[in-house]
């Protein structure tokens, strides 16, 4: 299971991405009736998209027998398209993907812009147009106190924050409820009585919590190792293939722009490093070590806190179904943490994020979402301190409940009962 899970999780994350990006994989051929006489032979196709220009007379025939003619859709552009954006329509038998229609839309918009500019009678219009073509990708640069600049990639950071915040939530819940289940099992098959004739109840409770933690951490370490392996393999693969993709694309555009070979290879190299993929990997590698370090600390803290509460709940009931009611006050802060986290990775430094990353019950999740954004270290230390201090209290309280609860059968335990146990124990 330990080995399978990261593979499954990886698959779960990658596969939808691949499927989404695959998009329209089939070759599409579009018949164009250009009544405005602007677009003929100018619409840009690619390996998957081609245009064939037909006349008005051929239109009805195409409309009725699209598939026989070998086209997937018919684009009819009316004369007034320059002034009326709605003057074009696409006919098809099957649904047209958003990707396709927006591609054509932007293509047409560019061409219409060009047409409109022609009316201004600019000299050397074609050359000017070529030079004006640009695409912008924003560089995000972080300034720290010394004025040092560091390139960042906000999107990636958000992604990291999200992943780790979510991981924290999952792990705490997963291992915490494992503790609870173990306690209930021991109680329901009565082995607990035999064991506590040899050891103190708190030893049993702590033993269980630490034992599950050890298993959890071992699994986690294995996942890290596996992930690092997959990461480095995929890094070289993806970046390399990105490079080759980049090369193909640049080749095409360069040929069209009439550039020579030298300029081409320069461009390819520069683009690859600068590419989105390259930047992503750079950001991740830079920040990952401290993030993992804090993750372990907060995971241990959050887990200890919640698992002692889970153990107390487990000791108070006779079987798993009865836990629903008592679980509520434990699951609430966890879910609250998740919800604040959604806000946090867009606003890592808001006061809402700050406070919830300090309050012990929500801090593991919210703080994990803040850490990738390189917040001040003192805040992290404070949060850790408060968390671990709270853990002592919760273990002390839970031990009292545990000690009485594990020998109590049949009574449906309410919170009032549990308070009685605490006072009495």
């Amino acid at each position: 299971m330990t080995l399978l899970t990261p593979i499954l999780m990886g698959a779960l994350m990658i596969v939808p991405g691949i499927l989404a990006s695959m998009g329209d994989t089939t070759n599409k051929k579009i018949a164009v009736v250009d009544r405005a006489k602007i677009f003929t032979n100018k619409l840009q196709g690619d390996e998957k998209l081609s245009f064939v220009y037909i006349s008005d007379e051929e239109l009805p025939a195409y409309k009725s027998k699209m598939k026989d003619k070998g086209v997937d859709a018919i684009l009819v552009i009316n004369k007034g398209v320059i002034s009326d954006p709605k003057a074009a329509a696409m006919y098809s038998n099957d649904d047209i993907s958003i990707e396709l229609s927006s591609k054509i839309e932007s293509n047409m918009t560019d061409l219409i812009k060009e047409e409109k500019m022609r009316t201004f009678n600019i000299q050397n219009l074609d050359e000017v147009l070529k030079k004006v073509k640009s695409s912008v990708s924003l560089n995000t640069i972080k300034l720290d106190e010394n004025g040092n600049e560091k390139e960042t990639n906000t999107g990636v950071i958000m992604g990291i924050a999200y992943v780790f915040g979510f991981l924290m939530y999952i792990f705490i819940f997963l291992f915490g409820s494992q503790v609870m289940r173990g306690v209930i099992e021991e109680k329901s098959n009565r082995v607990v009585e035999v064991i506590i004739s040899s050891v103190k109840p708190i030893q049993l409770m702590m033993g269980k919590i630490i034992g599950v933690a050890a298993v959890g951490l071992l699994q986690f370490v294995m996942w890290i190792v596996l992930s690092v392996a997959i990461f480095s393999v995929s890094k070289s693969y993806l970046v390399d293939s990105a490079k080759s993709n980049m090369a193909n694309q640049t080749q095409v555009t360069s040929v069209m722009a009439g550039q020579n070979a030298a300029e081409m290879s320069e461009q390819i190299a520069a683009k690859a490093d600068d590419s989105e993929t390259g930047k992503i990997f750079a950001t991740i590698s830079e920040r990952i070590v401290p993030i993992l370090f804090y993750f372990v600390i907060f995971f241990i803290g959050g887990y200890l806190l919640y698992s002692s509460l889970f153990a107390a709940v487990g000791s108070a009931v006779d079987n798993e179904t009865e836990t629903q009611q008592l679980m509520l006050p434990i699951t609430l802060p966890i879910i609250l943490g998740l919800m604040v986290m959604m806000h946090t990775f867009q606003n890592p430094n808001s006061s809402l994020s700050f406070w919830f990353s300090i309050i012990p019950l929500t801090s593991p999740i919210v703080m994990m979402a803040r850490i990738p954004f390189e917040i001040p270290t003192w805040e992290i230390i404070l949060s850790i301190f408060i968390l671990y201090a709270t853990i002592f209290c919760s273990i002390w309280l839970s031990a009292k409940i545990y000690r009485t609860g594990i020998l109590m059968y049949g009574k449906k335990t309410s919170f009032k009962e549990m308070i009685k146990w605490i006072k009495h124990s």
Partner: protein, 316 residues
């Protein structure tokens, strides 16, 4: 020497008094019965002996000294509700419990092999507990209880769930341990086993110790001085002998065998009765009826005092 002593132990749970100033003394090397109706407080007392819970007031002593947590290594406890980890293998689990009690790995292994062979259950070593039947699991649990050869063994309803053969096996083992000098406390509703095995008993009712002492003495003290005469003959054959001198308690006839119960006065010996009856009928059986523990239990718990000779508290 007392292996265990409780002095005026009081234990209160949140809304209920479980033990009301209970005192008990368990002599070493004997088998001690802890009796009482359900809910009387026996299990609470047992848990206190096992250091599972602590008394609210009162003192407990183990081998003459005030009891401490570490004394549990000298105690073995088989709870009434049997419990083992279902998904764990038998051998592995037995090793775990043995080591919990302080045995080394190699010592545990050695002893387990011995016991598994003795009980002829070697085949179960690698089976998961959930694959065993109830009786089988109890055998395993019994072994884990006594594996560290504790000086004091406590069994709560040990015979429940055992078929006659296994029950006999268990009895033999208990007697073996007694011979070796171990002390055994067992709590049960099975009065026959109490009569067979126990030397001393304590009866707990409604959180109090209502009867304590040596079993023979108790039975005799609850005796009504009733004698039973079995003879071949007809009903009423000795009526004229008894009339005026002896009190007839009951008379039954079965297939020519008559069983008559006669109550004598306190201290009145039985021999003259036999002598008086002998010339008249063929006597096949003559015995003093000592009340069964079953009867005593019922009488004490139901509080009947009518025909009971009140017994003082015997403590040894």
């Amino acid at each position: 020497m007392e292996i265990f002593k409780a002095e005026n132990v009081v234990k209160r749970y949140a809304d209920h008094l479980a033990l009301d100033s209970v005192s008990m003394s368990v002599p070493e090397g004997k088998i001690y019965g802890l009796l009482g109706p359900n809910g009387a407080g026996k299990t609470t007392l047992i848990r206190i002996i096992n250091q599972i819970t602590m008394p609210d007031s009162g003192k407990i002593y183990f081998k003459g000294n005030e009891m401490k947590m570490s004394d549990v290594q000298f105690i073995g406890y088989l709870p009434e509700e049997r419990g083992l980890y279902k998904k764990m293998k038998v051998g592995e689990q037995a090793m775990y419990f043995a080591q919990l009690k302080g045995l080394s790995h190699s010592e545990s292994l050695k002893r387990l092999k011995y016991w598994f062979t003795k009980f002829e259950i070697q085949a179960w070593w690698d089976k998961k507990v959930e694959e065993l039947s109830k009786g089988m699991a109890q055998k395993v649990q019994f072994i884990t209880t006594i594996l560290h050869e504790p000086e004091l063994m406590i069994f709560d309803e040990p015979f429940s769930g055992f078929d006659p053969i296994n029950a006999a096996l268990l009895k033999d083992e208990i007697l073996e341990f007694k011979k070796k000098g171990h002390t055994i406390i067992f709590s049960t509703h099975n009065m026959a086993s109490v009569e067979e095995l126990c030397d001393n008993i304590t009866l707990i009712n409604k959180s109090q110790n209502v009867l304590s002492g040596n079993i023979d003495e108790i039975r005799h003290s609850y005796g009504d001085n009733v004698y039973q005469i079995d003879y071949q003959g007809e009903k009423g054959a000795i009526a004229h002998v008894l009339e005026g001198r002896y009190q007839l308690v009951s008379e039954v006839e079965e297939k020519g065998l008559c069983k008559v119960r006669v109550k004598l006065d306190v201290d009145q010996p039985g021999n003259p009765l036999v002598a008086a009856v002998l010339p008249h009928v063929e006597v096949v059986n003559f015995q003093k009826i000592v009340p069964s523990m079953n009867d005593i239990f019922i009488k004490v718990v139901q509080g009947e005092e009518a025909s009971l000779t009140k017994a003082a508290h015997y403590t040894e």
